[in-house]
């Protein structure tokens, strides 16, 4: 029997699934260890660029999507209406969730200095953020994180593709987190 190319197999599985698939399931399907899988996915991502696709990775799940470079033609082709633009308040809140996740509403409001209820609701309705858990502290506030749809909407393969925050800001954030 011909040895099936496991990279190709992963591509076919992700193509069929359409939605994000947990890495454990993929590893089981191609009978690989988690470490081997990483290598296979890397090779798949490399081959996918040749057919205009990228591999999105979010919270241990992967998904095939079109490369952001070809967005213009696709939009015309699909006949998609112009998407509603996010307000500055929503974008600001989204940026905070993206970098500081998991993050509570109170933390977002402390960072923005302003009530963020409406901005959070807009982002939830657009499916760009979602509740990802509850903070273990009095009141157990909801923690928010970004979704796979966020990566898709902004053409990011994963959260690591966000531009890094300035070093001093990262330190300030870390110090604040410890203080809590």
């Amino acid at each position: 029997m011909v040895q099936v190319d496991r990279v190709a197999l992963l591509g076919a599985l992700l193509f069929t699934a359409g939605e994000p698939v947990a890495k454990e399931r993929l590893a089981a399907a191609v009978e690989s260890s988690g470490e081997e899988l990483e290598g296979l996915l890397e090779e798949l991502a490399r081959r996918a660029t040749g057919v205009g696709l990228v591999l999105l990775e979010h919270q241990g799940r992967v998904q095939l999507a079109t490369a952001p470079e070809v967005h213009g033609v696709i939009k015309t082709f699909l006949g998609r209406a112009e998407e509603a633009r996010l307000s500055p308040a929503a974008l600001e809140t989204l940026a905070i969730v993206a970098y500081a996740q998991p993050v509570t509403r109170a933390e977002i409001e402390a960072l923005r200095g302003v009530d963020s209820t409406a901005a959070l609701q807009t982002l939830l309705a657009h499916g760009l953020i979602e509740p990802v858990g509850r903070r273990s502290m009095p009141g157990q506030p909801i923690e928010y994180g970004t979704t796979a749809a966020f990566l898709e909407r902004f053409g990011l393969p994963n959260l690591g593709a966000l531009p890094p925050l300035p070093e001093e800001v990262r330190q300030l954030l870390a110090a604040r987190r410890e203080a809590h």
């Binding site: 939605e19 490369a67 600001e92 940026a95 923005r112 200095g113 209820t117 902004f154 053409g155």
Partner: protein, 238 residues
């Protein structure tokens, strides 16, 4: 007068700011200043001047703007009022500088996201096909009602947090203090009965302005104690 003309050079458009830190950052950047204690002090008057129009445009946000206004005013006061040496060691105002620096970084990240959005630089995923066989979704009726309850909560208008009296403009407050000052009085009495948070913030700034104009002298015998105000005997009369 330096103080009053300075905040006219950068007109502030009301209603375009996503919050008090956005306004503050805008004021600092309009003067091409870095985010420092000194630059925050420099834009304090301008920030307070913008409170009135903001209350008209977005009254529900005023409480948040006032919270920053009071921190700014405290920071400004530290620079203008003499303080015991022991007080100088701690610099709690750095906290506002840090907050603004962190906010600035997120603003820039938001601008980066916005640029990608404007350029339409996005990916598209694929809707799962029915072939070879659909993945089965199962759920419960209660999930549906919960989804609608969440939706209904979202539909409700954001409640107005506070109804506050209009913010007093700085020149008005200066006039008010001048008119009320009889002999030697405490700042608290000058403010009148039950002043609002904004009146305290603007009042303190008005007082500092009067000090700088050499119209009054102030004395604070103990830290955080009562501030005594007295009309300055003009050089001509003495």
């Amino acid at each position: 007068m330096e103080v009053s003309t300075r905040f006219r050079d950068v007109p502030v458009t009301v209603g375009t700011f996503s919050g008090p830190l956005d306004l503050l950052l805008h004021l600092v950047q309009s003067r091409q200043l870095p985010v420092t204690t000194v630059s925050l002090r420099a834009v304090t008057e301008q920030f307070l001047a913008a409170l009135g129009p903001i209350e008209e445009a977005q009254p529900e946000l005023l409480a948040d703007f006032l919270a920053v206004a009071s921190r700014l005013t405290a920071l400004k006061a530290r620079a203008l009022l003499p303080r015991p040496a022991a007080e100088q060691q701690e610099e709690p105002e750095d906290r506002l500088v840090h907050d603004l620096a962190v906010y600035q970084a997120f603003r820039e990240a938001a601008a980066w996201l916005q640029a990608r959005e404007t350029a339409g630089f996005r990916s598209w995923t694929r809707v799962p096909r029915l072939w070879p066989e659909p993945r089965v979704v199962r759920g419960s009726p209660e999930q549906l009602t919960r989804a609608l309850l969440r939706w209904a909560r979202r539909c409700r208008p954001v409640p107005r947090l506070l109804r506050l009296r209009p913010v007093v403009a700085l020149p008005t407050m200066i006039e008010r203090l001048r008119a009320r000052l009889r002999g030697r009085q405490t700042f608290r009495v000058l403010l009148g009965a039950r002043p609002t948070a904004s009146e305290v913030a603007v009042g303190l700034l008005a007082l500092l302005t009067l000090v700088r104009r050499r119209e009054v002298v102030v004395e604070q015998p103990e830290p955080f104690g009562a501030i005594w105000v007295e009309r300055r005997i003009s050089d001509g009369a003495g």
